[in-house]
Symmetry: C2
């Protein structure tokens, strides 16, 4: 299996990206293609390339976080994002991982790979791993800020397939994120989506609320990309606060010479902190395009990139894109 | 000052509500009116009534959490929520505190007190106290699931007044919750609201993201009631998870006989846990109606109710409703 990695994307590129790719090549049985400026990458990765089965594909341009996704994709055909996506389109790589401009990755995938037939809006499926019962898939995590009810039904279908394969759950419980659990609660979008979801053959458990995200009540959380993005970043912010405090706790633990009784660790706080850390899962999967695309966090460092490559590998191993193509999608009229 | 308290509202009514009201009467210099079934309340509070300056106003009906707010308000004129709101309308009480059906409290306030002139949609202003720099006001926390851009501008105006008075900040920083900080990020509602907010004389700092809620970047967070409610409940869910783990930590701390070195406390984790606990602030204020209404959490126990009464007292002390009435509101066309 060959996985292409955007070596130029993200706040810590290229150094941390290359470091993470090398870790992944060592740990997983995968060939890695680093996509980016050949001379820069060769200096950093050169001595590892041959023995780890890694290679470089040159991409002379970079897309900056502040650029308009559509314009950037059109005006920079030799950017690492476009080149990487095309490697998947051309069958050179089985998946592409990028911590670069997620909007640009999304548009590049739409243009280069196209949507799976029947899917109106591909979505970003992000894994939240904060409850003790297991991970939860939330989609859309940010690709589609404004949605129609029919789109949310398709997110539920895509999420069901991904959660089934990735988490190994036969019939994932699908919840619709709302401001109340009763059927009549929600904004216009949610109320209409609820009625459509009820008619599907999915394991739709109804509306869920914000506190259900972390209490294990559900396997797949369906929401529009605006709400999904806000919720994920809210959790991330809490995670950051928590990690800072854990650090303080460790320093104090040392000051008291209590390493042997590290209460924070004992109490499971540390495992929560680890789960609250977005770096653990590494990435989110773009679901509904003709190819495997993993969007990693813009602040990804080496371990996150390694984990994102691991997620890409599992996504390929489980033939997710193929299973999505096989899925039958209820067509909803554009007016819904 | 007299504050009316809905003794029948919330999961732990009437026992915890009455207990909290008694605590508040002891701690604050306020007269409390308990609103509810006289015979029930007399049994519980009777011996405290005279010496604490408390009284009972009878309300023979209850509104259940599952009832439709509009129907319940119309069909139960002698419910504790309607009776309590009317005490404010009639000038008998300066404020009303309820942990009952928040939708019913909202509609009752609209019907009984009416909206402040110029305000299209009153909003629920909820206080989040999770960052070290100080509390943050989020509105709308759930009253208006579907909003127009003009509504969000008014939320920003209401929030500015409340934060100025309650937090003592001259020029509160107002942020618009979005899925990206750039001006062009957001759903249709947020993009249009951003353009309107830029033209106001508020201290509008632009779009903020989910992680900014807890990092002290902002004093007032403006969002639609759907997103606001989801975000608050997401934070609440995290807080619950955290509190559970803190409890485990304390048990382990005792098992190790390390009470003297309670690392969890030392590390500031406990203060975070305390802040993460919605019970600390007690309630949210309904802003934009002609009277002071505090909506407490449905799971409120005595301390939360006491704190909610404290919030009501500060709201009255600072003449928030009067200052909102004095505020000049930019009229926006209904189409915006």
């Amino acid at each position: 299996m060959t996985i292409a990695v955007d070596a130029m994307g993200g706040e810590y590129a290229p150094y941390e990206i290359v470091k993470g790719a090398i870790k992944a090549a060592q740990e997983f049985n995968t060939e890695i293609i680093l996509v980016g400026k050949r001379d820069v990458l060769y200096v950093q990765a050169g001595r590892h390339l041959a023995k780890l089965g890694m290679s470089i594909v040159n991409a002379s341009e970079n897309i900056d976080f502040h650029e308009s996704p559509v314009e950037a994709i059109q005006s920079k055909p030799d950017s690492s994002i476009v080149v990487g996506t095309n490697l998947v389109r051309d069958g050179v790589a089985s998946a592409f991982v990028s911590a670069g401009h997620s909007g640009a990755v999304f548009y590049s995938a739409l243009v280069s790979l196209g949507k799976v037939e029947g899917i109106e809006r591909p979505a970003i499926g992000s894994i939240i791993n904060m409850n003790t019962t297991g991970p939860v898939l939330l989609l859309d995590a940010g690709a589609n800020a404004d949605c129609r009810p029919g789109h949310l039904v398709q997110f539920a279908q895509l999420g069901t397939i991904y959660a089934r394969e990735l988490f190994g759950i036969d019939s994932p419980r699908v919840g619709l994120l709302s401001n109340g659990e009763e059927e009549n609660k929600g904004n216009h979008l949610v109320k209409a989506s609820h009625q459509l979801l009820k008619k599907t053959n999915l394991n739709f458990i109804g509306n869920i609320e914000g506190h259900d995200i972390t209490n294990g009540a559900v396997d797949v959380i369906v929401t529009d990309g605006f709400t999904g993005n806000v919720v994920l970043k809210t959790l991330e912010g809490m995670g950051d606060t928590f990690l800072k405090l854990r650090h303080v706790g460790r320093l104090l633990s040392r000051a008291y010479h209590l390493q042997g009784h590290d209460l924070l660790l004992d109490a499971g706080l540390s495992s929560l902190a680890k789960r609250m850390d977005y770096r653990e899962y590494g990435g989110a999967c773009l679901l509904g395009v003709n190819g495997n695309i993993i969007i990693a966090h813009g602040r990804s460092q080496a371990t996150t990139i390694k984990n994102a490559i691991g997620l890409a590998k599992r996504t390929v191993d489980r033939s997710i894109t193929h299973k999505i193509k096989e899925g039958t999608y209820e067509q909803t009229s554009p007016s819904e």
